[in-house]
Amino acid sequence: MKNKTKYLYLLVLLPFLTVVILFEVIPLIMIIINSFFPDKGGSVTLENYITVFSKPLYKKAILNSVYISCVSSGIGIIIAFFGAKAAHESSGKFHNAFMRVLNMVSNFAGVPLAFAYMIMLGNSGVLLQLGKEIGLDALANYKLYTTSGLTLIYVYFQIPLSTLLLIPAFEGIRKEWQESSLLLGASSTRFWTRIGLPVLMPSILGTISVLFANALAAYATAYALLMNNYALLPINVSGMFVGDVTIRRGLGGALSVCMMLLMVIMILITNRITKRFRKGGAKA
């Protein structure tokens, strides 16, 4: 009797399982399976993957995605390091105001962000006008609708996220270490390159992989700025399924799988390096 009522409670689990299976498990499995079937019909093949890696358009999309994600994560993490260091060293009003700004703008991304940049740096943007007035040609002729313009916008949304993620890591740097290295004659730069950075490295690498994933997946920002006129993984993936074109499940699936694989590769690389740092730390 008792057992029977117990299994009655599996029914309570059922709604959850239904939604998760319908909208998470099956769609993901299907997109992977579809990537191995040609769009014209036929049996299992690697044709779609060969197309992805041989057609210039898709190669370009992968390269652009990787390039923008790497550059924006790199610049983002450098600024975040100094930002988080400053947040750690400050206190009181400055610290609180900074935290508030970071938290507020951490949700500033996508269409609104692209729009704000178009207002500032678009073809008739406010800052371009300013550049003309004061005769600063580099600013007056700035081209936002390019890879570097897109990277600039990506850097913006990487900064608050990465700074917020790095700030807790600085708690691990003890004041005593800094003081004793100073007493032993090390300069502040030397302290950070020889002690501070290695200690922070696991957190920095973890943050980089979050930033990379964040940039790789960003669709709204890029689409709002450049529409479909730019080869970028998320834009090309959407293009395969949405709109007036015939849906290309196989090729779109292969592109999606490539996108997921890029994330996995990034996570594996950072995990690997993190482990090395941890090991080195244990030996010392």
Partner: protein, 268 residues
């Protein structure tokens, strides 16, 4: 030591300015007739007035509110029921529920949207409905946040003991769960639902890929508007950002309150 804090303050000010300039510039832009020279000209709030009297914008706003609330309520109920069943009756299944809840962290919105779309578009039955697909997709996207919020809440209360007590007093376990446990973890649920509101409110990719432009939320509205009138779009922008900030501020406030409450009870 003094020199160090000054340097830190300079860095903070520089980054702060960099982060606030786009917001500030667009907000100023929205409050003037035109900004083609060095300074904006003709202060006016007419863009805001037109927006709030325009039916299309109000319906986009309404759509946004609805599409934020429905998936969150559904997801909270699903996760509550699932965690109840799992913690009370099937502890061995718990880690599978956890895995299912955390997977969406690693899949991107683009991929989730196209995989749901390609699977169900043109299929027969209720799943072909774009709104059903959209709500389902949102439920999955916010699942990790809702799960984490409820899980953390449940970890903080002694659930088996409370449920036993409720049962001894004659209540069923399910009744006890919803009348005793849930009120105890409501603050954690509120914070995670607000995070979820922030995510859905800021979403563009899922709604565009799944519903096209047939169902407009404010993000889609902004996107369409900025192609035609940048001054009006800047007013939409300001409204979107104000709402976003309000949600973030509320999350921070509730989190701080909770942390303080916890510190107090620890003191005791």
């Amino acid at each position: 030591m003094k020199k160090k804090t000054t340097a830190a303050h300079i860095v903070i000010i520089l980054i702060g300015i960099y982060l606030l300039i786009p917001l500030f510039a667009t907000a100023v832009y929205s409050m003037f007739e035109k900004w083609t020279g060095l300074l904006p000209e003709g202060f006016s709030v007419k863009h805001y007035l037109t927006l709030f009297t325009e039916r299309e914008f109000m319906s986009a706003l309404f759509n946004t509110v609805i599409i934020c609330i429905v998936p969150i309520v559904i997801t909270i109920l699903l996760v509550l029921l699932a965690l109840f069943a799992v913690t009370v009756y099937f502890p061995r299944l718990e880690k599978y529920v956890q895995i299912l809840c955390m997977i969406p962290y690693t899949i991107q919105g683009v991929i989730l949207s196209v995989s749901i779309l390609s699977l169900y578009a043109g299929s027969k039955g209720i799943l072909d409905n774009r709104m059903v697909m959209l709500v389902g997709a949102y439920c999955i996207i916010i699942l990790p946040y809702i799960y984490q919020g409820i899980r953390n809440g449940l970890n903080a209360v002694n659930m088996p003991m409370l449920l036993d007590a409720a049962e001894m007093l004659g209540a069923s376990k399910l009744y006890g769960f919803f009348r005793v446990i849930v009120p105890n973890i409501i603050s954690g649920i509120t914070v995670s639902s607000l995070l979820a509101v922030g995510i859905i409110f800021g979403d563009y990719v899922l709604i565009r890929n799944i519903t096209g432009t047939s169902f407009k939320n404010v993000q889609i509205y902004l996107f369409l508007e900025m192609k035609s009138s940048s001054t009006k779009a800047s007013a939409v922008f300001v409204i979107i950002m104000m709402t976003t900030f309000l949600i973030t501020a509320l999350v921070l406030f509730l989190k701080n309150k909770e942390a303080k409450g916890r510190a107090k009870s620890a003191e005791r």
